[in-house]
């Protein structure tokens, strides 16, 4: 059952990620990407990473993708047109190369022994995942957490300056 759910979610993620490349209009690509993110959130939920799953929905599909869709509609982006005399060498050469690379990684990953990896059979303690992450974030990772807030401040200023009328 567990593996069936995983295979279903990963199939959804891979197909919708591939659909980003197949679609010519960016709005369809964006909607497809949202589906891929939701499928990944399901996989995180299955891995008992509840906090990350919720963050995936709130931050990625909620904030980042809304920004993408907003910009696509603001700029009135059109579908990519096919250029007839262009040689699509990347497609005919790149697809087999990419598949070869994935097969290679698959072989390496499946042949590597997982010794020394202690499998967590149950969630740690009685406290929730979010509570544990909150505790570790404010003790061990307090400095990176504060630096992240400065990064976000810089990003806000940068975004405003970039979108200003006269640069």
């Amino acid at each position: 059952m567990e593996i069936a759910v995983f295979l279903f979610l990963s199939a959804v993620a891979i197909v919708s990620a591939a659909n980003i490349l197949i679609q010519r209009h960016p709005i369809y690509s964006a909607l497809s990407l949202i589906l891929a993110f939701v499928a990944l959130a399901g996989i995180y939920l299955q891995m008992h990473a509840e906090f990350i799953a919720v963050m995936q929905i709130v931050v990625y599909t909620g904030a980042i993708m809304v920004l993408f869709v907003f910009v696509i509609m603001l700029l009135n982006a059109r579908a990519e047109e096919r250029i007839p005399d262009r040689v699509y060498v990347v497609k005919y050469f790149g697809i087999p190369l990419a598949l070869l690379w994935v097969v290679e990684v698959g072989l390496v990953v499946s042949n590597t022994s997982s010794e020394g990896i202690t499998v967590a059979t149950k969630t740690i303690g009685l406290t929730s995942n979010t509570q544990l992450i909150g505790r570790i974030l404010y003790t061990q990772y307090a400095l990176p957490f504060e630096v992240t807030s400065i990064l976000l401040l810089v990003a806000i200023v940068g975004a405003i300056v970039m979108a200003k009328k006269e640069l």
């Binding site: 567990e2 593996i3 990963s10 891979i14 990620a17 980003i20 490349l21 960016p26 690509s29 990407l33 891929a36 990944l40 996989i43 995180y44 891995m47 008992h48 990473a49 990350i52 963050m55 995936q56 931050v59 990625y60 904030a63 980042i64 920004l67 993408f68 910009v71 603001l74 700029l75 982006a77 990519e80 990347v90 790149g94 697809i95 990419a98 994935v102 698959g106 990953v109 590597t112 997982s114 990896i117 202690t118 499998v119 967590a120 059979t121 740690i124 544990l132 992450i133 570790i136 974030l137 990176p144 992240t148 990064l151 976000l152 990003a155 940068g158 975004a159 970039m162 979108a163 640069l167």
Partner: protein, 100 residues
Amino acid sequence: MIPLSFYLLLSAVLFTIGVFGFLIKRNIITIFMCVEVMLNAVNLSFVAFARYYSLLDGQVFVFFVMAVAAAEAAVGLGIIVALFRNRQTLNIDEINLMKW
């Protein structure tokens, strides 16, 4: 229990799709979306290793990656808006001033 290799393989496939899209797409917004796919593939690896080593550090790093991705999306889309205002195009074949 799902083996760790399944998660890593899914992560590798998603990352490859992202790289491939980055190379073949011509619309700058779609290229940006492919970068997000790559970031998500890495996040999946982080969470998978965090689960299998039963450590929470991986999940904390995913949190930081998400914060950086949000900052990157805000600034990147600001750049795209500024670019469109100056060049009236989103096609990267026409934005080639710096191309040798």
